[in-house]
């Protein structure tokens, strides 16, 4: 051994825990991509185990949500106003907001639910919220298919147009945005378990504030709230989905830039925020 001469040298040692530089952290994360994939997959297969309908619930749950909201807001309260295809407007809102709320819930609980893995193995903890987002994104694919089927089947039928080609693009931006928010909530909910109780209320507030089941001009009775709703990235994402799917119009470039900036901003801030507390996730 060439080092025999200096038995007390510690140059070849490196820390066993702690926070690597951000760039290195990201490359460690990429190295564990197979782990992320399997973690995402295994959680999605066990989620509805023991239920008669199994994974059909992935589609059934948002469909029932949409039905109830349509009954109350569409048929009874007539909240649609001037909206031509209010059914389409509503199901797009409900289905795609569900994507964000499910991702937030999964990410927020991902550290707590996988503490067995955390205590057993050393790996970048960001694996867990990333796997949570990935799982919800996969779970969303059949929901998107159902959404399309409903839009086409239910009158007034929204028929496929060229604008639909951009659907994957806005979905990707949406996924990036969700990942960013997921990172934020994963750290907050781990540091402060009470946050897990609070999240459903915040999500409901956000749900109502994103013009999911009534037209946005309903908020204009209080001008600053109307402004706030229009700045809200979820409202902006839903607007893009709706104009692509219902109006067959491609939203102006400015709108795309705004949501992309929101998504990238959330991702960068979220990832940095999560990474900074890396060492704390092993504590109980």
């Amino acid at each position: 051994m060439p080092r025999r001469a200096h038995p007390d040298s510690t140059d070849h040692l490196s820390p066993v825990s702690g926070r690597p530089p951000f760039r290195e952290y990201l490359s460690q994360l990429v190295e564990r991509r197979h782990f992320i994939g399997m973690q995402a997959w295994s959680q999605s297969t066990t989620q509805h185990r023991g239920m008669l309908l199994g994974n059909v619930w992935l589609v059934l749950a948002p469909a029932l949500d949409g039905l109830i909201y349509f009954m109350i807001f569409g048929l009874i309260l007539r909240a649609g106003g001037a909206i031509e295809n209010f059914f389409g407007y509503l199901v797009i809102g409900v289905f795609l907001f569900t994507y964000t709320s499910r991702t937030i819930n999964s990410s927020a609980t991902s550290i707590h639910n996988n503490r067995g893995l955390i205590r057993a193995f050393t790996f970048p903890r960001a694996v867990l919220p990333v796997a949570a987002t990935l799982r919800e994104t996969f779970a969303m694919l059949p929901v998107l298919v159902t959404l399309i089927v409903l839009l086409v089947a239910v009158p007034p039928h929204a028929l496929p147009t060229a604008a639909w080609v951009l659907l994957p693009v806005v979905f990707l931006v949406h996924a990036v945005f969700n990942q960013g928010i997921g990172f934020l909530l994963a750290r907050i909910a781990t540091a402060l378990p009470d946050a897990r109780q609070l999240i459903p209320y915040l999500l409901r507030l956000w749900f109502y504030g994103s013009a999911v089941m009534f037209a946005v001009d309903r908020f204009d009775s209080v001008p600053w709230i109307g402004q706030l709703v229009r700045i809200n990235p979820m409202y902006q994402l839903l607007t893009i989905y709706r104009s692509l799917l219902l109006d067959a119009t491609i939203p102006p470039i400015g709108q795309w830039v705004t949501v992309t900036l929101w998504a990238l901003g959330a991702l960068v801030v979220g990832a940095l925020f999560f990474w900074r507390a890396e060492v704390s996730y092993g504590r109980e």
Partner: protein, 295 residues
């Protein structure tokens, strides 16, 4: 250094490591007076009282390649905590741990994914350890064979007995061929057949591995398997030296405590702490047994 050969390279450096747990307590009287009133009021309305418990207090030592280090101490002395800190799964409050490779922990307490089958857990565990899917396909049969739990490998892990779970985890960690191996009482679990197989596997790992840490309540095991031992007590390092000497001093102390001869126990403890471990007077070639009294 007690090892007779030339010292190997440093493989693990533990530098002033402290760990403090924040835990629930029902004993308000143990809190500092300033906090007592508030804690009582909190308890009255159903809030939980928390207190800090020092699990490790400023532990420092260096481990070298080729060393097998046993950790001895009473329940709650911080042995398992120290092992988790070295493994990097428990961040210390102060201090640092440096290592030449990623240490692999063989623990019995870590529950993995209870809803998944044993086979899926093996795959997931190997991925978490950083294996590539192709490698996993290759080593999977060996891991399952070492675990040796038969058909149960296809059943969810939540249906496993604790022995079966421990065997599976042992097999996963062993597959990593770690150069720094941390064993937390893993040898004590499993039936005779598995104990035999795991012993062989550990011997194999020992032959290849640089450094092994072993936590065991059985000081006898430490004497047999280790070259060096560290005695921990209430989170403090009492003595660090040759395995036989330290393990025997610990057993002598534990023996005196068990006999409720606290004065002699305190004396033995103080001597050990001063670096002059007391080997029990009657211990000859045969190690002290539980039935032997003091001279």
């Amino acid at each position: 250094m007690a090892a007779s050969e030339a010292p190997g390279r440093i493989s693990v450096l533990v530098d002033d490591v402290s760990v403090r747990y924040r835990t629930e307590t029902s004993n308000v009287d143990a809190l500092p007076p300033a906090k007592r009133v508030l804690a009582r009021a909190g308890q009255a309305i159903g809030l939980t009282t928390y207190t800090g418990v020092d699990a490790l207090k400023g532990i420092s030592f260096v481990a070298r390649e080729g060393e097998h280090i046993g950790l001895v101490g009473a329940n709650g002395s911080g042995k398992s905590t120290l092992l988790r800190v070295i493994a990097g799964v428990e961040p210390p409050r102060t201090g640092r741990v440096l290592a030449e490779a990623t240490p692999v922990l063989l623990g019995v307490s870590a529950a993995m994914m209870p809803a998944l089958t044993g086979e899926r857990n093996v795959r997931l565990g190997l991925l978490a350890l950083g294996f590539h899917p192709d490698e996993i396909t290759e080593i999977m049969p060996g891991v399952i064979k070492l675990a040796g739990i038969g058909d149960a490998i296809h059943r969810p892990m939540k249906t496993y007995s604790s022995g079966m779970g421990a065997r599976l985890r042992f097999a996963i960690a062993a597959a990593a061929q770690p150069s720094i191996l941390l064993i937390d009482e893993a040898l004590g679990t499993g039936d005779a057949a598995f104990a035999d197989r795991s012993k062989r596997k550990i011997d194999e790992l020992r032959a290849g591995a640089g450094t092994i840490f072993l936590v065991s309540h059985a000081a006898q095991t430490i004497e047999e398997m280790c070259t060096r031992a560290i005695w921990l007590h209430m989170g403090e390092l009492i003595i660090d030296g040759p395995a036989v000497e330290v393990a025997r001093a610990y057993r002598w102390w534990a023996h005196l405590v068990a006999k409720e001869d606290f004065q002699a126990a305190d004396e033995a403890f103080t001597l050990a702490r001063q670096g002059r471990p007391r080997i029990p007077p009657s211990s000859g070639s045969k190690p002290l047994s539980n039935h032997e009294g003091p001279a």
